[in-house]
């Protein structure tokens, strides 16, 4: 009804470039390959989550439960290390873990065959629009948690250590999400460009080493984003000693 199929990027040069709208909702809200890919990832995540926790066992025997417990356990341990204690880490765990999972899978979705070429499939993190959206969520989450943890006293830390650093401190709050989003976007976009370039040179074997490296980089970028977000939240909610 609102759907208006448009076009898909098909050339190597246009592959990692932001694709056009596949259809438009309400006359202005465009749905692009990036968004459909995210939806696909969400469906996969939802199904896997449902399957993993459908029949939870106290002593797990199903591989999926064991695997999920291991992943979440490691993530929680890691966040506990940053936050200082496990209870605090648990409070912010849902947001941070969701970032990690979504960004990791988004990064890896760019390695799927045909990603960037096929209509409706493009790594979401290879566009700045998506990464800045994530960073904006981190920005609001950080200050929301900060105010929630410390009340209005939260804003005091902008005037520390001395009052005339206030503009600089405020500026920093805006450079944080900017750097966060640009780092992620730049890395993934760059990888895709390199892979696309290698692909156009020799499609058969040339991109493979870069794709293998991308497996590593995709993980590292998701990890770095989550780690920085947790550090921002940790410092915003940290009590004064």
């Amino acid at each position: 009804m609102f759907a208006t199929p448009v076009y898909a990027a098909t050339t190597a040069e246009g592959a990692a470039e932001h694709g056009g709208a596949l259809f438009t909702l309400f006359g202005w809200l465009e749905v692009t390959s990036v968004t459909t890919t995210t939806w696909g990832l969400m469906v996969v995540i939802a199904v896997v989550s449902y399957l993993a926790t459908r029949r939870l066992e106290k002593i797990p025997t199903r591989r999926l439960q064991i695997f999920m417990e291991m992943c979440l356990g490691k993530l929680l341990d890691f966040l506990s290390g940053i936050m200082g204690d496990r209870d605090r880490a648990k409070r912010y765990f849902p947001v941070l873990a969701s970032f990690f999972i979504l960004i990791l899978l988004s990064n890896y979705s760019g390695l799927l065959p045909g990603a960037g070429h096929v209509t409706g499939l493009q790594a979401p993190t290879s566009t700045w629009s998506v990464t800045i959206a994530f960073a904006v969520i981190v920005f609001f989450a950080t200050h929301y948690y900060g105010i929630k943890a410390k009340g209005l006293g939260y804003f005091k830390h902008f005037t520390q250590p001395i009052i005339f650093l206030l503009p600089l401190n405020i500026l920093e709050e805006f450079t944080k999400p900017l750097s966060l989003s640009l780092r992620l976007f730049g890395n993934i976009y760059g990888e895709e460009m390199v892979i696309a370039g290698l692909f156009s040179l020799l499609p058969l074997f040339l991109p493979v080493p870069m794709q293998l490296l991308s497996l590593l980089f995709g993980f590292i970028q998701a990890f770095v984003f989550t780690m920085l977000a947790s550090i921002y939240i940790a410092s915003a909610t940290a009590g004064h000693h």
Binding site: E17, H18, A21, W28, L29, E30, V31, T32, V34, T35, T38, W39, M42, I45, A46, S49, Y50, A52, T53, L56, E57, K58, I59, Q65, M68, E69, L72, G73, L76, K90, F93, P94, V95, A97, S98, F99, I101, L102, P124, T127, W128, S129, V130, I132, A133, F134, V136, I137, F185, Y189
Partner: protein, 161 residues
């Protein structure tokens, strides 16, 4: 590098939806299960520790009792052995005494029998002698002389025996 407000809005919406889904279907159930397990393990470990301690105490108590019982048994055995030995000695002594007594009695009886036999023999012999003597002298002596004669004879015979 292009920027699309639609993509950004969708990314935010998608993230929030995903957060809700993950929270409901993954984090809450899984973390709750993990916490419950940890709690259970902690509890179990604690009770196991408690049970171990209890078992150790019971074992110590048991060992102590065993040693006590062993010592007691040893004592009883020693006592029984002593009593047995004493009893044996007593029995032997008694038997010995009995034997001695019986021997003495027997001896006494033999002596008496012998005496009696001798007396009988003496009577018999004296009668025979008197009869023989009467026949030899062919004369009857009076009662008084007769008895005197016998007495003399017996005394002589007694001295001779």
């Amino acid at each position: 590098m292009s920027f699309s407000v639609s993509d950004m809005i969708w990314a935010i919406i998608n993230f929030l939806i995903l957060l809700a889904i993950l929270n409901k279907f993954l984090y809450k159930p899984l973390l709750t299960t993990m916490d419950n397990r940890m709690e259970q393990i902690k509890k179990d470990l604690y009770s196991a520790e408690l049970a171990k301690k209890e078992a150790r105490e019971i074992r110590e108590e048991y060992t102590k009792q065993m040693e006590q019982a062993k010592a007691e048994a040893q004592q009883i055995i020693e006592k029984a052995t002593k009593i047995g030995e004493e009893t044996r000695e007593n029995l032997i002594n008694e038997a010995r005494e009995e034997t001695t007594k019986m021997t003495e009695k027997a001896r006494e009886m033999i002596r008496l029998e012998k005496e009696e036999a001798l007396n009988q023999l003496r009577d018999e012999v004296s009668t025979l002698v008197v009869m023989a003597a009467g026949k030899v002298i062919e004369k009857t002596i009076d009662q008084e002389a007769h008895e005197k004669l016998i007495r003399e004879f017996i005394e002589e015979a007694g001295d001779a025996s």
